[in-house]
Structures are given as structure tokens and as C-alpha cells.
Symmetry: D2
Subunit: 383 residues, 4 copies
């Protein structure tokens, strides 16, 4: 595939987007603004938007600025004007869509989790490896400049050797016992529950900062075993878990603790972690996503303490959005950075991060957590 | 002026933008995404971008997605395809540009401060009143859903009668004594210093939450009296102040304290305020712009405390950006909300907020602070 | 044993204290001030202080206000004037001293952990049960009014049914790789490492708030395997662990995660926990020991958030120390409350909390954590 | 006066305490524990406690451990066994008691404010200067190790030259409009309202950290003009102010803002301040009294941020209370440090801090704030 030239003789690249929900809108906004934010990228052409029914697709195409719309994703993935296929449809159709897009020679931008089972994720990884195109997955929190800076601090030895990692990712969207039963409660629709919705994000951060995970022991639990059916007096079973926790061992030998809940009242987007090093510690909470906390065993003891570092131009690519520190990026900005990474990877013919191969490990770990919990024993990550 | 129809028979509206710096980019991003975010607004057509030299204008037009570019703002303001003129050029040329745009019958989106002197701001206010078009000013922090919610809480009596207001707005961009002299140090270029850059934002919030200010006593101070000239050994005088503080009395009789510094080490975008009421208190800090803190004298004493409310869909229009609470808006999102307010006001033929007439009061107050400080006496706000 | 009358015809009670270190001083201060703080308790008579050598004992007796001193603890425990024996000597001698004191018919105030092994703790528990005296253990954090209030909130249903518990207790006193080897590194002297120093405190809080623990899976790790010997070039092995983590299941069926580190840079007295309920959440951090955070799914969504409750007279017995909220208790005040609990229990002839029987469970859990980690399997708590 | 020898041949010193309320108890606890905490001080002998009626005095003498009690303060101040007279009675009798104690040749430990008027404070200052004894005033917050450390950091140049100071001291004990009228509302009983209760503490900190105040402009306000009389339907006038604010100029030329409210809902012991320097900033809040925040313009920009320093043994005399950092001192511990300062000053025959002469400046400033507010003009501090 080659990039086409736009009217200003700039490179441009055609985008097809499947889905118009939470993540669909987020993708639309990101592809629509990435050029204005970053400048030095191919210009995305918003070509085709897919949703059902067609009226919905058409209305959102108008809103999001797509040239055309369709209610048939199979048409979108083979559309000649489309170079990148963005998949934000429900998780259970990710695999079919992504395989079709890869098969059509399109670059694929796939929301997380890649698939409901690790076997399916593996099939996608293999398909991507042989497709000769670029892939990226929607592990958007990795693109927070504060997280990137944490990664760089660790790489540079700012906290010495990493010896321990703690992380929790929690929300409260399933905390209310009276909430009606939905597809989220079905294994065949939603997969692993909190692990699939949230836990895989935490694993992505843990491995970005502390390296791949080698083995783990885990527990998980469904808190609300049934939920009322919206239109009747009956209740229906919840098939997946609300909470999961794991004791992990990284390949480096460091240990860690990962835990997640979708029923944690008061948590709206809590992704808290601590990286313990031999010379310091780094902590973070996504609910204050523009702050990184750093402790270093340096200087006079009387002046040691956790430093709260506000994101700013010193933490690229923050400065592409705002030239002044402390003014803050938002959730949607992270997707813009993700899209920038993808466009640059395509333009430079290199792997994007995190590609399908990277995301496979994240999802391998969450399935291992589920397996360990069911078996009651330690599980090794095969990779 | 009437809105034109775009290819989908939607209303559209032509935008001309003067300036490509911090605020110029912010405007470009906002007009480029407001339709995708909000849906139900006229579609902005990015028609003309102006900067000097023309190569710069052309390059940024490409980056920002404007159809044309120019190095002559006088052409932009009379361009037939332009319905809205956005002015983000240096403060000292605001007046001339805005008068020309109003004279050409254009809606005007003007960055703050409107002008370097209150006489000039007054002239702009009068011109806007008679121009038969809509105006809005770039007091973007007012559009933070958390601030809007604070306003609504106060209006609804959640903290009783407002009896006191405290506010500070601080940054550290002029804190370093060794920083080179720039135009920011000149009265004729930058006007009032910290008051003009920052203080007027604080006044906009104070009056939004506690009503207009009636009188005040103030002090101000230049901390670094000279600064090195970049290309030589000499130093040059700093003509405006780094710090200003005022004891204010609101029209309601409530008192307050406002203070600002552009030399406050560690403050990157600190806009902290407290609204004291007879039944509670609200506090906020822009450096954690997605958090509002509320104390109410309600319920058991043993359970009273400041509640940290994370912005979410319950605080419109947050939900237009992200459907989940706690995921966070960023600085640039506030401008999108400001643009939405402007487009809606134009479509509904009503005053936008804050229009020139609103902003006049904000700037009246900062000039009164300067006047009080020079005179050493209390100054009344005439309005 | 009967309480003696002091010169004002008040009840008084004789105290003998073994040890003058961190906890020894803390006990001395607490017994010295409990009457002044609480009023309605028997007056402690500070009778005998024991340490070695005798000069040290004598000097501290003078400083702490004890009437006599000795270098022979065996004398202290049988001293007729002593009603309460406080044991703050090194952990490895706790058992011998406590058994002797119980044997002499004294009430015993024993620092945690009770013993180095669970067998020894069990022996102490049994001895206490048959001794006909009162016992209390130094799980001082349980006496924080904020924790007591958390307990009461949970009991009253303020957060619904407890479904999950997270806790971490961390300090950094063994974080520095260059720190010299000490007795803390020896199993025979210090026992379990972080679990014994810190972890048992966390278990005490977890079970106080979420009930007894039924089973667990755990991992632990020594980060610094050797340490330099202070007076030579050689290094010596560290026999116990720096970090331990466990996935626990409470008797209620709720799950939880407990973790501890003595090598966590920047943590000085971090005891952080979250209690997840079906209707809310409570969180706390001992480094801000006068703050409790409470989220309840009540009232308008737009006003929901974590409330930060500052300890005050509404949280007994805070008001015995200071009659105004928010003024703050300190670490040493917790021991005063513990002593008050002990004196009241003696006066009222009831069990104190936490008595040896309570503490046995806390320590049973930390030994189970160690056992599970070594075996790599789930371990049930027998009790 | 010479110190007497106790039974162990240590120096001891006789203490007489007037008052058994909030501060009375605080003094009793402090004199009762200072020797145990610090060791190297003369041993206080708790000789006489005074309150009315005599039964109350007797009961509290028993509780606090005083040897004798009286209902006649005139007897206490001339009691031969009393070397130090502690005055914690209502503010309006401070002057008479302190003059009598000075006249009797006693060291005087006087709670703040020294007097209701600056003329009375001046008379006390003069009397102390000629009495040949030591004095100290109850500005206890100055003795917080975190504040002491802030002072030392500033002295050492850690934040460069101090150029600005901001401070607020707020509580909510008069926030409720329905609170019954008390003596606190009377000028002749309580003096200046919030300024006298709270504001003088803030001035003590401001001048400790930024030097004496040279002049100021101020405003103050009564929020609740009447209050219900407890036992009837009528209401009675509030004669003093709830809120006061001042723009101050320090002798160094630096400016600052001081503000106080006794009607600030949610504030329980808020003493927040910022010290702005040319190379950094220090901030603090008494509601988190064991934390000091420090920003320094040092090192890589990407790692700059406010450091939260937890009080510990590196901040003397914290280590006298607890040998481990982060474990926290409480409000009552500050009085112990104050008493230690006084005992050392007596033993070393030097001025204590803050003596009457120091406190005079603090109180001079609050009266100047009131005077400026009434006059509407700038007021100079004569000293």
C-alpha cells in the first residue's frame, strides 16, 4: 500500500471506522485532529463510517466528518479508499473483522481486548505477522506522556532496579446490585468481565514498566451473581467476574500484585500503580492522569519526599497539544497520540506499539489469571 | 448574516482565524472538532488562516485544515466566506482587528484580554453592542464542566448564601530571574503583566460564581525589576508587575481576596478558589481541573467532609466528550465547549457567554486593581 | 488482683515496663498521660522500669518517671507493686517474659508480634486463657479513632455488605541496599521480616473491618539477599523476606489482597486500605492518619464523590485529646487509647481488645502467608 | 529564682496552671510528659491547679496529676512552690494574671492572644522586660517540626529570596447561622473575633518565615450580624468579625496576603501558607501538619515538582517523640515542644521563643488589620 497525495501534495491516508460508541467517537475525534495537533503526519482522510442501522451510520458520518457511510462492515474493509480499518465494534466480532481487514491488506487499528479467547488472540497475532501491514491495539493509557516518562525514568535508572510492582484498575459501572442484566454479564458476549474490560489495560502498563510476566497465581470473584432483567421481574445469571487479583512474577524475577474490579464504588477511572525500585519509587493514578509521583533516595534526608510532577512540554508529546505545563491533557488526547504512533509507524514502515504481538502478551496474562483462579494453582505464561 | 447549507444540507458557518500560536492552535483544534463532539451545531468550515509571513500561514493552514491562508488580516476580516473571525494575535492588536471584523459584520471570537486598556475594551464593548453580530471572549476556564457545576450548585443553594470568595491564579513562566527580557515586560506590548495574562481569568470565575465586584483595594509588585537582554550583557527594565493582590467587595456585600503571580515557582496552571457559603463551601484547583470539592453542613457530623467530585456525564457537557466519569477532559476541550457556546448562540440568535459586555467587567476589575495599587486607595468599579 | 487506692482515694494500678526503645518510650508516655487524658480510669503508678545495663534502666526510670529500676526482668514480673507488666523487649524474648508474667498473676501488655512462631503464640494464648488476668497486644493502629469509625460505619451498613478488601503496609527502613546487616535479617532473632514487623498490623486491620480470614495464597521475596557487615568488607545473608503478598478469602466469602514491604522507598508509615462494599467504599492511609475517606452511592449522581472526613470529637475518643476537629492526633496518642482500653477492661473485668486470643489470629495469618509462599499452594487458617 | 533538686538530684521546677479547658488540658499534658519525651530538661513538678469552682479545680488536679488545687488564682501566682505560672484562662483576664505573676517573680507561660488590646499587650511586654524572668506565649504552631524546617530551608536559601507570602487560617466553629450567641461575640470578652482567635497564629507564622510586617491594608466583615440567644426567642448582636483579610508589606519589601475566617465551613484547622521565593516555593497546611511541600528550580525540568516531605527524625525534635519518619506528631505534641523550649530557656537563662516581645508584634499586626479596616487606609506597624 502506498500513501496517496492530497490536494496540497501531502501524504494522506484513508480511514474506515467501524463503530460509533464510546471508542468509535474517540477514534473519530483522534483521526480528525491528529494532523492539526502533530503536523508532521500523513493527513487522515475520513472515508467510510460503519454502523447499524444505516441511518445511524449516516448521521454519525455527518457528525464525525466521514465522507461516506455503510451498514455493512464487509464492504468497508475492502473499500479501495480505505487504508486503515479501525475496529471499535463489540469485542466478540473483533476477530472476524480484523481477519477480514488483514486479508484485504489493510492496516488494522483494533480496540482492546483483541478477542474473547486467547486462542482467537493468537490467531489474530499470527494473521498480522503474515499480512505485511501494520497493526495497533487500543491500549491507550500507554500513550499518556506521564506513563511514557515513567518508562523513561525507569530505563534511565532513576529508581534503580525494579523489584516490585503494584497495580489496581477499578471502576464502578457494575457496582450497583440493582443494575439491570446486560450482555456484559455473558461470557460469550463480553468474555472475562473486569479482566477483559479493565485488567488487560493494567497488564499493558505493568509489562511496559516492569517487563513481561512469567507466571502468576490468581483469584477472581463474582460479587453480584444475578441481575434483574430490565423488562421483567426475573433475574438472570452473571457469568463473568467482577473482581480479579493476581500475584505475578515478572521475567526479571521481580514480584507484583495486580487487581481489578468493575464493582468498586467511587472509582471512575482508577488505574493506580507503584513501581518499587532499589533507589526510588514511582506512583501514578489515572484519575489524576497529568501527575506522576517520584521518590528518589537522593540528597539530604530532610528534603526527601515524593515529587508530584505535572505533565508538560518536558514530557513529549504533551507540548504538541499545549505549550505550557500543568494545563492538562484529557482522555481523548491519549487516542490522538495512539493514532500518531500508528501513522508514524505506517509512514516509517516499522512496528507500531502496541502491535497485535504486544497485545497478545497482555491478553495472555488475563486469560492466565482466569485459568489460575479456576485451577487454584500457579500458571506459567507460555507466550 | 445567514448560515449556509453544506453538502448534507446541514447548516455550516465559515471561520477565519488570525494567529497560530498557543491560542491559535487551540482555536483551530476546537473549530475542527466541535461538530464531531457535539453533533447538533452548524458545521464550521475552516476557510482562511492568517499569520505572517505567508509561508507560515500556508504551512499552518495545511496542518490545521484551513482551505486558504493569507498574511493580511485585513483581507481575512472582509472575506465573504468568513462568518466568524477568531482573533488570537498579540493583545495590542486585538482592538484594531476586532473593530474591523465588527465593521465587516462578522461574529467575533476574541482572545482575552480584549485590549490593553480599559478605554479600548470599552470601545470594543460599544462597537459590539451596535454591530448586530455575536461576540465571545476567550475566558475558557469558565466552560469547565466542574466550574459550570459549581455555578449551578451555588445557584441552587447547595452552600447557602455566598459570603466570601478566595482565589489565586499563578504560574511560573516569569519566576526565573535569569530569564531573558521579552515583550511581556513592556506595558505598551503586554499591558498589565500578571493581571492581564492571568488575573482577568480569575476575575471571570469570581464574578461567575459570586457576582460582579463593586469596589476593591489592591497592591501589586514587580519582583524582577530588570531582565537580561538575550543578545548582550545589558539588562532592560521590566515595566509591569509580577504579582497583584486585591481585597474586593462584591455587589452582594460579600468580601473576597484575589491574587495572582506569574513568578510562582511550581505553579503551572494554578487557579485555586474557595467559595464560602452559609451552609457549605466549594473549592477547586485548575491543576486538577476534573475535580470539584464540596462541603455541606448536612447529615451526621461524624460523616461530614469535603467531597471530591470527579467530572462526569452528570456535569454537562462532559458526556459529549466521554460517556464515563473520571476519564477527564483536558485544557483543549474547554475551548471546544467555548466554541460550542458561540455556535449555539449564533444559531439561536442570543448572546453568547462571555460576550464583550461580560468580559468588559472582568477587565474593568483588573484595571481597577492596577489603579488602586498605584493610588493606594479603594477604587469603585463603575461598569 | 485488686486495685489499690491512691492518696485521693482513687483506684491506682502498678505498672512495670520492660524495654526503653521505640515502643518502650511509647508505653511510658501512654501510661504517664492516660489518666490526664481520660480522667475516668485507674491511675497508673509507674513502679519499675527494666532494661540493661542497670545504668540505662536507672536513667530512663528518671526520664520516664518510674519509681524504681532494675536490670533483671525476672524481678520485675514478680514485683508485688506491679499489676501490669508491659513487654517491649525484642520479639524473641516475648514468650518467656509473658509466660513468667502470666505465671505471676500479672496483667500483660505485650507488644506485637506476640512471638516468633505460631506455636509460641499459641502457647501464649493458652496460658492467657487460663491465667485469670487480662491481656492486650500492641496492635496500636486499631485504636485510631478513624479506624474505629470505619469499623462502626461498616457495622452500620454505611457501605452495604463488604465484598472486597485491599491493603498494603509499607515502610522503607530496609530499602537501601547498602544498609548494614543487623539482627533484623535473622530468622531466629526477627522472625518473618516484613510480615512480622508490618504485615501483622495490616492483618489486624483487615480482620477488624472485614472479619476473620479463612484461607490464602501467598508469595514473598527477599530483595536484598545479602547485606554488608558493619565492621568489615564481608557481607552476610538476609534470612527473611522484604516483601510479602497474599490473596485472601475471608470467612464471609469476600476476597482480598494484602501486601507488605519493608523496602518500599518513600513509604514511611504507609498503611493503605480500601474496603469495597455493595453500597460504598471506605479508604484510609496511616500517613494521613486523621483522615477517613468515604464514598456512598447516595444522593444525586452529580454530587457523589469520596468525602474526606477529618477526625474530630464525633469520632471518640478523639475529643478526650482535643475538643476541636481537624487538630490531629499523633502516633503516640494511639498507644494512650490502647492503654485506656486495657485499664478499662481490667476495671470492668472484661476482655480487652485485642487480647492474646485476638492477636493469635493476626499472627496465624502471617505465618500462613509464609507457609503458603513456601509451599506454593493455598493454605487454610485453622485458628 | 533557682531550680530545686528532686529526689534523684535532678533539677525540678514548680508549675502552677490556671485553667482546665482546651488549652488548660493541653498545658497539663505537656508539662506532664515533657521530661519523659525530652529527658534533658528540668523535671516539672505539677504543684497547683486553679479553676472555679473549687470542686472543679480539685477534680482536675486529680486527673492532671497536680499536687494541690485552688479556686483563687491570686494565691497560685504567689505560691512559693510555683516557679512557672501557666495562664490559660479567658483572654480578658490574661493581663491581670500575667502582671501579677510577673510581679511575683514567676516565669510566665501565657496563652495567645496576650491581651484584648494592643495597649494591654504593650503593658505586658514592658512588664516582662523589666521582671527578670522568662516568658513564652502559646503560639504553638510555630513549634511544628515541619514549620521549623521550613524556617531553616528559607534561612539556608533553599528557595532563594522570599518575595511573596500567602496565608489563610480558617475554622468553622462560627459558620452555623443558627449557633447560639456566646461571649465570643462580645468585643469586651473576646476581642477581635477571628483575628484574635486565629489570625494572630497566622501572623506568627508569616513573620517567622518572612520577617516582620511593616504596613498593611485590610478589610474585615461580620457575616452573621446577630445570633439567637440560647434560652429565648430573641437574638443578640455579634460585635466582632467573622472574616478578616489584609494585604501586607514585609520589612524586606516583599508583599503578602493574609486572611482568616471563623465561619469557613469544612475547615477544621486549616492553616495554609505559601512562601514564594526566587528559586522555589514552600507550602503547608496544618490539617496535614506532618507534611511540608517544597518546590525547587533545580535539576531536569522533566523531574521538577512539589516534593511532599513527611516529618521525621531529620526534622528535630520529631525524633524525641518517635524514632521513625511518617508516624506523625499530633496537636498536643506541639505544646510539649513549646514547653521544652520554655524549660530550656529558663535553664539556659536565655529568651524563649516566642516571648512576650515576639508576640507583641504578632498582635500588633492583628490590631493594625482591624484599624486599617475601620479606617479604610494603609496602616504602618510601629512596633
Amino acid at each position: 500500500m502506498t500513501l496517496t497525495q492530497d490536494k496540497n501534495n501531502n501524504n494522506s491516508i484513508g480511514v474506515g471506522l467501524i463503530g460509533t460508541g464510546f471508542m468509535g467517537k474517540c477514534h473519530a475525534l483522534a483521526y480528525g485532529s491528529v494532523k492539526a495537533v502533530f503536523g508532521a503526519v500523513p493527513t487522515p482522510r475520513l472515508e467510510v463510517l460503519c454502523d447499524v442501522p444505516s441511518e445511524k451510520a449516516s448521521a454519525f458520518a455527518d457528525q464525525f466528518g466521514f465522507a461516506r457511510s455503510t451498514d455493512t462492515w464487509q464492504d468497508l474493509v475492502v473499500d479501495p479508499a480505505v487504508d486503515i480499518v479501525c475496529i471499535t465494534a463489540p469485542n466478540k466480532v473483533h476477530k472476524e473483522m480484523a481477519l477480514a481487514a488483514l486479508g484485504a491488506g489493510k492496516h488494522v487499528h483494533l480496540e482492546k481486548p483483541m478477542a474473547l479467547t486467547i486462542a482467537d488472540a493468537n490467531e489474530l497475532r499470527d494473521a498480522a505477522a503474515s499480512a505485511g501491514v501494520k497493526t495497533i491495539t487500543g491500549y491507550n493509557y500507554l500513550h499518556n506522556p506521564a506513563i511514557t516518562h515513567a518508562h523513561q525514568l525507569i530505563e534511565s535508572g532513576a529508581i534503580g532496579r525494579v523489584v516490585h510492582f503494584r497495580g489496581a484498575i477499578d471502576e464502578d459501572y457494575q457496582a450497583d446490585p440493582d443494575l439491570a442484566w446486560t450482555w456484559r454479564a455473558m461470557k460469550t458476549e463480553a468474555g472475562l468481565g473486569a479482566l477483559g474490560d479493565l485488567g488487560c489495560h493494567l497488564v499493558s502498563i505493568a509489562t511496559y514498566l516492569a517487563g513481561p510476566i512469567a507466571s502468576l497465581m490468581a483469584d477472581m470473584q463474582t460479587i453480584h451473581h444475578t441481575r434483574p432483567v430490565a423488562d421483567g421481574g426475573a433475574s438472570r445469571a452473571v457469568e463473568n467476574e467482577d473482581v480479579a487479583s493476581a500475584l505475578v512474577t515478572f521475567e526479571t524475577g521481580a514480584q507484583g500484585v495486580l487487581t481489578t474490579s468493575r464493582s468498586a464504588w467511587g472509582r471512575k477511572s482508577h488505574i493506580g500503580f507503584e513501581v518499587h525500585g532499589t533507589e526510588g519509587m514511582i506512583t501514578f493514578d489515572q484519575e489524576r492522569m497529568n501527575e506522576l509521583r517520584l521518590y528518589q533516595n537522593r540528597g539530604a534526608l530532610a528534603e526527601q519526599g515524593f515529587k508530584t510532577i505535572l505533565s508538560g512540554p518536558a514530557h513529549p508529546p504533551y507540548g504538541e497539544f499545549v505549550p505550557a505545563a500543568g494545563h492538562q491533557l484529557g482522555f481523548n488526547d491519549l487516542k490522538v497520540i495512539e493514532v500518531h504512533e500508528f501513522l508514524k509507524a505506517i509512514a516509517e514502515d516499522r512496528l507500531a506499539f502496541p502491535a497485535f504481538a504486544d497485545a497478545f502478551h497482555f491478553e495472555d496474562v488475563i486469560h492466565a489469571i482466569a485459568a489460575s483462579s479456576r485451577a487454584g494453582t500457579r500458571v506459567s505464561i507460555k507466550g
